[in-house]
Symmetry: C2
Subunit: 426 residues, 2 copies
């Protein structure tokens, strides 16, 4: 890190020793998983820097924004519209939930049979090691799965300023009207938090900024159709992860810069792995920083990941928000339309998702799908069986993996992944 | 059983051998758990008969109703309004979900980490051993927990005529309007199924019949306040279970008859266990027939169960439906009001439930609460931690149990339950 942030972390009430230990592990993991890769695009240097400063410079920026009276909103889910936060003059950041921390303490509040992601969000708070969470003026929870829905009831007693957003379970007209009402309520809450009235102009600007981030990721995704793949899945995942943390304009610029570089690579037929490397689509639960276990296993087992059907991936970013609305209501309708399309497994039925997986397989020329389910994540693990059946019916090999944030199963997973890659290479 | 029902079961397409085996196990379990009890009220003879004929005479009655063109609606949840089914001239019955069956086959469709109740509902269908399911003209699923919500997507491919009801997650005005809309939709579906138009008169009559069943169970519950308890928890649970299967009028009459008998017992200071027997309130997941494991362990370990805070118990029956509405809309509003009060753990927040647990402890003079969570039932297991904290804060001992329909943990559970009973006896 570029400077000593200890006073800053101290001012946030963080546990400095625990946090040092966490950063140590994170840094070592990044070294072994990311920096050990070969043939990386030069543009990834920006993301390496971002990651080295993820609890440093970026937090300093947020605290500087706070000094200018800008509010920070933390969230755990792609259903929280960044457009509305930006329109209210607030910054939206994703909150830490990608690693085990303070597990023993967490299990006093949550059942052992809770998914790693939810446990992690509690662990980072209880262990006081997430500077994003400690900087946030408002934390937004949402009624997606049962696990999160019920966990937020307890979380409300642990954090200040928890705001919970309700979500529909069915894409009916009633469901859409609930989502719209909840976004209207969120808009009012943001206005109240920031003291800024959201206007047609500010909302259009918010939509523009977020769409630009998404469009940059679409451009990146399209370039991954090439064989040899011009960028690793690990690096592309990192871009999708940093999407939630970084300054939006800078993020967009950085991703586009990488894309420029990748276009040159593709013209020269250069790749990060050799041509004809088996191509994998990952589908399933989100992977928050530093949850790189499965992609790392896959890409050190002879395959390349060409797409992420995930909240931290295409599920989260594939749709843009229509910005042609002439008044606030039309823009809010457009935002509702956009998010109502998200094919999260909390919806029933959720045919769109399996259709999209098939589309992605075809678009990115994947040879097989690895379905990633976090243990005890009922929505995705339940969907994984019909997803697998559908894929296999049309001749697309699929392997379902159920795991957590622990490292105990790495050997076993590697064996299974290698066997799967061998199978799809035939 | 009073006669040979084999031709009837055969006509329903059931697996006769598997079903014989199931009835054998069920009969033996009933013998060992129910008939082995001492000091039972004579009126329980009716329920013994009902249980001995649960797949026989009752199914014959349903099939006779079908011959008269009456439709049978099967359901898995207390959110399906029996009032509406009855008003449409249909019969509502609970479907089998209280025992493991065809587990290997089930796990081809559902993840291993699915609760026993959901697995059981699949098992009874895949094994073709539930005559209620095979008799049903319409099967109603509902978006309660993630597990059920996602499982019904698969179930739709396994059964005919699955109808899925959406449910809210928050008791907001949006939530209530969703519930109302879903009940209106259900009313239309019932009318379509039966060909009968629901009228003010028929809906009032439906409400009256279901309220009478509930009122009989309220009367039974009130009598359990006495010490010595005039009826075992196992027998009271059975009445709550048969609530879902029996002819409503006959059920009401039979429960009231037992209550008459219990009143005499109470006057004579007679009980099913000695006075001062430690009193337990069970709270948590529903217990469908023949899931009697935990109550049986408790009542053979020196305690008596004095109440069930459960869907198969007071959560399901404590509220009556107001019947004073003058038109269909007023009656439908009253039905919505009634079911919107159900304090299922799918709702967030769900303070009503923990308040009700405390009320029940006081009303029934319970010495402690045993929280019953089905393994992998996230809503109830997640709530069990704050419930326990709340109870212990006000000096009510609570033990949280997580189990399934298997018998492997009986010894371990018995040890824990005995220790808890010893603790609350001090």
């Amino acid at each position: 890190m570029s400077e000593d942030y200890t006073p800053m972390w101290k001012s946030l009430g963080m546990d400095l020793d625990a946090h040092d230990a966490l950063l140590g592990v994170l840094g070592q993991g990044y070294q072994e998983i990311y920096l050990a890769q070969k043939n990386r695009p030069e543009g990834m240097g920006y993301f390496d820097f971002v990651m080295s400063e993820v609890h440093g410079l970026r937090i300093k920026e947020l605290l500087d924004e706070k000094k200018q009276n800008r509010k920070i909103i933390g969230s755990y889910c792609v259903f929280v519209p960044e457009e509305i936060a930006l329109a209210g003059g607030a910054t939206l950041v994703g909150l830490c939930s990608g690693a085990d921390f303070a597990v023993e303490e967490v299990e006093k509040h949550l059942p052992r049979n809770t998914c790693s992601l939810i446990k992690s969000s509690f662990g980072f708070k209880l262990g006081r090691v997430c500077p994003y969470l400690e900087s946030a003026d408002m934390i937004v929870g949402e009624n997606t799965c049962d696990g999160k829905k019920k966990a937020y009831e307890t979380f409300a007693g642990i954090v200040d300023n928890l705001y919970v957003m309700d979500l529909p379970q069915v894409k009916s007209s009633q469901g859409r009207s609930l989502l719209k009402a909840e976004y209207e309520r969120f808009k009012i809450a943001v206005e109240k938090l920031t003291g800024n009235k959201i206007t047609v102009e500010s909302l259009k600007e918010g939509i523009k900024v977020v769409n630009a981030k998404r469009a940059a990721l679409h451009r990146l995704a399209t370039l991954r159709k090439a064989d040899p793949a011009p960028i690793s899945g690990l690096d592309a995942l990192l871009a999708n992860q940093v999407f939630f943390y970084d300054n939006p304009a800078r993020f967009t610029e950085s991703v586009n810069k990488i894309c420029d570089e990748l276009e040159v690579r593709i013209k020269k037929n250069q790749g990060v792995f050799p041509s004809k490397t088996p191509r994998i689509l990952i589908s399933g639960c989100p992977m928050a920083v530093p949850n790189w276990k499965l992609p790392w296993i896959i890409e050190t087992s002879g395959a390349v990941i060409v797409g992420e059907e995930s909240c931290v991936g295409e599920r989260g970013t594939r749709n843009l928000t229509e910005d042609s609305g002439k008044n606030l209501d039309e823009l809010m309708e457009a935002i509702t339309d956009r998010y109502f399309k998200v094919d999260c497994a909390i919806f029933t039925p959720n045919q769109d998702r399996s259709d999209h997986i098939v589309e992605m397989v075809k678009a990115y020329g994947a040879d097989g799908v690895i379905h990633y389910g976090l243990q005890f994540c009922q929505p995705y693990i339940m969907e994984s069986i019909p997803v697998e059946n559908k894929l296999e019916k049309i001749g697309i090999p699929c392997m379902r993996i159920e795991t957590d944030y622990g490292m105990e199963d790495v050997g076993q997973l590697k064996t299974r992944v290698e066997a799967f890659i061998e199978q799809i290479s035939d």
